[in-house]
């Protein structure tokens, strides 16, 4: 009679794991709400919670209506939406390719979106909606190019990462080239397209991104469980009832769309897509879908990074600089860890 207690124990352990995951996700969510509220209250002028709430519910407060409603609220919304989109997209790629380095900002897809956006703004002079579509086209083309270049009598994650790095280097050069041609551009504007910034936040920018996140986010999140199963390998996943090709296609298209929308609105915010997934896994645990925690961590990273960049130093840093400085040591740490365990390839 040893099996029954073991099964029971396993069940108890599993229940505890699920509960712990639930509490940690709830804690992340609470932290995000708190940070969101803080970002609405804090600034050059400090507004109390009552004033912020009145503005949120449509009341007219002298001063606060403009500062909170037109400046801080779109900025905070942009941060949360872009961060969540980066987190979901990054975690999708990392999980599907089973390699933390295979995040879309390292393998060039984010830079495809950024290059297309910069070209369509500087060279073609398009508006925000068209820029978002161009970014989507750029990201899709880059993803396709990296995939085709990396596919050669089979598929290897390491080769994909290396080729992606080469593609990223080219596209970064294109961005830098176009920006250097546009001499009338000031530094902050150029900055947005080099590292990501929320300084241009406006409702006009939030619109397309909100549409993408609200329409596609739930779809990708719903496939999160299948994504977790895909980690076991294609054959195992198929045996467990996952329609592998369809699920993979939907996941890739969804992730690339989210990424392109976020990049078109906030620029290629450095390393958020790369960091969100691994951090979320460490916080919440490896079981279950990695996507929802990654979305929360991504939103926290962008929102927190923007707050830090705006107020923690004597000069104002764009969010991409803060997340870049945070992400650099993390990237090296992950790299050292994965080479030590031989898990790189």
């Amino acid at each position: 009679m040893t099996t029954a207690p073991t099964a029971e124990r396993l069940q108890v352990a599993r229940r505890r794991r699920v509960r712990r995951r639930g509490t940690r996700i709830a804690a992340l969510f609470a932290l995000l709400v708190a940070l969101f509220a803080t970002s609405l209250m804090v600034g050059n002028t400090l507004y109390g919670p009552d004033e912020v709430l009145r503005v949120l519910f449509g009341g007219q407060v002298p001063g606060a209506s403009f500062t909170v409603g037109e400046l801080r609220l779109p900025r905070a919304c942009l941060a949360v939406l872009a961060g969540a989109a980066f987190g979901i997209a990054g975690s999708t790629f990392q999980t599907m390719l089973r390699n933390p380095l295979a995040s879309p900002d390292i393998i060039g897809i984010t830079w495809g979106a950024s290059a297309a956006a910069v070209v369509s703004i500087v060279v073609l002079g398009l508006g925000q909606d068209a820029v978002s579509l161009a970014a989507l086209a750029g990201a899709l083309l880059t993803a396709l190019a990296v995939y085709l270049l990396a596919y050669r009598r089979g598929f290897s994650g390491a080769r994909l990462v290396l080729i992606g790095i080469g593609v990223a280097a080219m596209l970064q050069s294109v961005v830098a080239w176009v920006l250097s041609r546009a001499s009338e551009w000031d530094l902050p504007a150029a900055m947005q397209w080099l590292a990501g910034s929320l300084n241009g936040a406006s409702w006009e920018r939030v619109g397309p991104l909100a549409l993408a996140v609200l329409a596609i986010g739930p779809l990708v999140l719903a496939l999160g469980r299948d994504l977790g199963t895909l980690r076991l390998g294609d054959d195992a996943a198929a045996a467990l009832g996952v329609r592998v090709p369809a699920v993979r296609l939907v996941l890739i298209l969804g992730a690339v769309t989210l990424l392109a929308a976020a990049t078109a609105a906030a620029g290629p915010v450095a390393f958020v897509a790369f960091m969100a997934g691994p951090i979320a896994t460490r916080l919440v645990g490896p079981s279950g879908s990695p996507l929802l925690p990654a979305a929360l961590v991504g939103a926290l990273l962008v929102l927190g990074g923007d707050l830090l960049g705006q107020f923690a130093f004597d000069s104002r840093y764009p969010v991409g600089v803060v997340t870049g400085a945070l992400g650099a040591p993390f990237l090296i740490y992950l790299l050292a860890r994965s080479t030590r365990h031989g898990g790189l390839t």
């Binding site: 080769r159 290396l162 050069s173 041609r181 840093y317 650099a328 080479t339 790189l344």
Partner: protein, 348 residues
């Protein structure tokens, strides 16, 4: 020979042996191309000049506007020549030392390491002395190189080419974002030192060239002097040791030369990628794998390539200029991709 041996040491190496006449012919062709690129660099620019004006200016006449324009292009051209040769030599040495076909001062993080060291010095420690800047840059590139090698050799299998390339690329990305973090809030530093992010030779002056020239010469001599040792390294560590080569010392000396070359080049021109990757591969096709021929050839071709890239950068966006670092990335990244594609994963 290990299965991870790069193309330089593959059995195909024998077929890359070129007769001395062929090598000499290619070397001469390289010199001619270099001269053509140099003349083009002097002749093309915002203001078009005639060939007579170029010749007159080189003879020391700066009286007319045309010849003065040519004279003002001389330092820039010279700098491109020096930096191109230095990066190509550095890349060749790194490929020999790490036995990695994907090695390049840019990809292995050396350029960005030098960049970060100098930018940090300027921003936080009031670094302004030009000589100290070069020293800091060399130390920065050496630190980055050692760091990347340490990371890449963790774990089973030691420093395989794949792990080194990945470690280098990741470190480059990480250090690059730190450079941005230091530079971007400092608008005054940013505008004068934009080339710390994207390498360019536009800011060349005679003073700065004279400053780095000794360091570049020293690095080039060290690298050229280890040519024979590099040939032994290419046979694999065991065979090289059996032939009496002190493997560790040769590696160390050649790598030190590469660090000095890359650090000094970066100190004056900023991080310029992919020259050190593309040129050695091209030259191996032309003059074979003997480093006594390969190293001079890479210096010549590297100098010519960077000057040509600079000319292209000045012509495509007239009257604006495109930094040469952008052009080399656009040329070099496809070569990098092709190399990463060509090798089977196991060999990578």
């Amino acid at each position: 020979m290990t299965p991870s041996a790069p193309a330089t040491t593959a059995p195909g190496a024998a077929s890359l042996r070129r007769p001395a006449g062929v090598r000499l012919a290619w070397l001469l062709a390289g010199v001619v191309a270099l001269l053509l690129a140099t003349v083009a660099s002097l002749a093309f620019g915002t203001r078009p000049v005639t060939i007579e004006e170029v010749l007159a200016a080189l003879a020391g006449d700066t009286s007319s506007i045309g010849t003065a324009a040519v004279a003002s292009r001389v330092p820039r051209t010279l700098l491109a020549l020096l930096v191109g040769a230095a990066l190509a030599l550095s890349g060749t040495a790194l490929q020999a030392v790490t036995r990695n076909p994907l090695a390049d001062p840019g990809i292995l993080g050396l350029s960005t390491g030098a960049s970060l060291a100098v930018v940090t010095g300027i921003a936080f420690f009031g670094l302004s002395d030009p000589v100290a800047t070069v020293v800091v840059a060399v130390l920065g590139s050496a630190a980055a190189g050692v760091f990347v090698y340490a990371i890449g050799s963790l774990g089973p299998g030691g420093a395989s080419p794949l792990k080194l390339a990945l470690a280098g690329a990741a470190t480059t990305a990480a250090l690059g974002s730190l450079v941005s973090a230091v530079l971007l809030p400092r608008v005054e530093v940013m505008t004068t030192f934009r080339f710390w992010q994207i390498g360019g030779v536009g800011g060349a002056t005679w003073d700065r060239i004279l400053l780095v020239a000794p360091a570049l010469a020293l690095g080039a001599l060290v690298v050229l002097a280890t040519a024979r040792g590099m040939n032994s390294l290419a046979l694999g560590d065991d065979v090289a040791a059996g032939l009496g080569e002190r493997v560790a010392r040769t590696r160390l000396v050649a790598a030190a030369g590469a660090f000095v070359l890359c650090g000094a080049a970066t100190a004056i021109a900023g991080p310029i990628g992919f020259v050190g990757l593309v040129v050695p591969h091209l030259c191996r096709l032309l003059v074979g794998t003997d480093h006594r021929w390969l190293l001079p050839a890479t210096a010549i071709v590297g100098a010519g390539l960077l000057v040509a890239a600079d000319v292209v950068g000045r012509l495509v966006a007239r009257p604006e200029e495109v930094e040469v670092g952008i052009i080399t990335a656009l040329i070099g990244a496809p070569v990098f991709i092709a190399l990463a594609r060509r090798r089977k994963v196991r060999e990578l």
